[in-house]
Point group: C2
Chain length 198, copies 2
DNA sequence: GGGCACATGTAAGCTGTTACATGATTAA
DNA sequence: TTAATCATGTAACAGCTTACATGTGCCC
């Protein structure tokens, strides 16, 4: 229910694939879950300590620093199942781009176009990253049981990115219309409106 | 840059459309910006106090309780422009549904299907809400200068919701395949594998 | 010997939600 | 008069990021 549970679920989940260090855990979460999840060091290490205290993960190797790894225990796997079965409550939305566009009248069409273009570029990046992940998954033969589930999240990222691209193109066109209409209103003498869109 | 600035931007932005009370502010933000933004009382009232202290908004009417309203000042409008011009940094993603699906092996295909179906239902809800907003906007003739910008955010919501629908259908099909493959693996004697996918 | 990647942790501080306290107005 | 809605605020707490402190092992 609490957010901490989500961090624990992410940590236990990652360790259910393979044992690793806290440092590697953070990299895995950033690189593999990056398009739909994030955790910082300040979350991961306390979570690992808590999980170890309850016997849900086990520390192996160098106690201090160096090549220590954390492995999930049987109790940890059971706990993971519990955590995953809890209802997935979506977080309250906070989209700073759409906030700016909603009050875009104060920014003007050109500044808005720039924002949308940045968003479009991010979507293309994401599409490229998703394609790269697909290639990696195709090349890597480990964890065959996990693969179909991982592909679902990749597909979600692709659908979202393509939708963002399509919306951005539509928004850019609308803002272009707005700009010329605006210009015609406010600067009637600026230029003889070189080309009107039919 | 800080999150507080975002709250101030949302509050100033809403008041730039029309003056209203803090209570109404919260309702407007929930009902109108709801699909891409959220603020709670605990954010709104301190933000209003802070803005009033700096002369960016002005309290009118009953000082105590009752029919008091807050109105944006000229300085407030200028500040809003500044805030909106600041770079829109996207928040770190946190999608509890995709987290569960990624580790879906531990949940099994059926539990995953249920999650996806819930997500699909939410997307349909959102699509319906966006359609309602479109109707309201078409009927309401006030704020014509804001309308094109508002429509951009509605369109973003529609694109996102449609993408979620398309993905959900794809995911449900994939999970159905997985379920039957799984059943064939784990329960070879259950039924003579009625239909195999080629 | 210096720099870099690996590795573990803590503390401060901000953001944000929730629950609570308080009271006015209005409708049943 | 009781309940619901409108209205304003505060306090406690949870979640999360960032920066810092510390140390190892390896390669150039």
């Amino acid at each position: 229910m609490a957010r901490t549970d989500q961090t624990q679920a992410a940590v236990l989940g990652a360790l259910s694939v393979t044992p690793m260090s806290g440092y590697a855990l953070r990299q895995e979460i950033r690189d593999t879950l990056g398009h739909f999840w994030s955790e910082s060091f300040g979350q991961i290490y306390p979570a690992l300590a808590e999980l170890a205290r309850h016997g849900l993960v086990e520390r192996r190797g160098g106690e201090r620093t160096g090549s220590s790894t954390f492995a999930i225990t049987a109790a940890g796997t059971a706990r993971l199942r519990e955590l995953l079965a809890e209802p997935a409550q979506p977080a309250p939305p906070r989209n700073p781009l759409l906030l700016r566009l909603f009050f875009g009248r104060h920014l003007g069409p050109d500044a808005c176009r720039e924002l949308v273009q940045q968003s479009r570029a991010r979507a293309e990046d994401q599409l490229a990253r998703m394609a790269a992940v697909r290639r990696e998954l195709a090349a890597d033969a480990s964890s065959p049981a996990d693969r179909p589930y991982w592909l679902l999240t990749v597909s979600a990222g692709e659908h979202a990115a393509r939708a963002q691209l399509a919306w951005a193109d539509e928004a850019l066109a609308a803002l272009a219309d707005l700009r010329s209409a605006d210009g015609a209103d406010r600067l009637p003498s600026a230029s003889p409106t070189p080309e009107e869109h039919p």
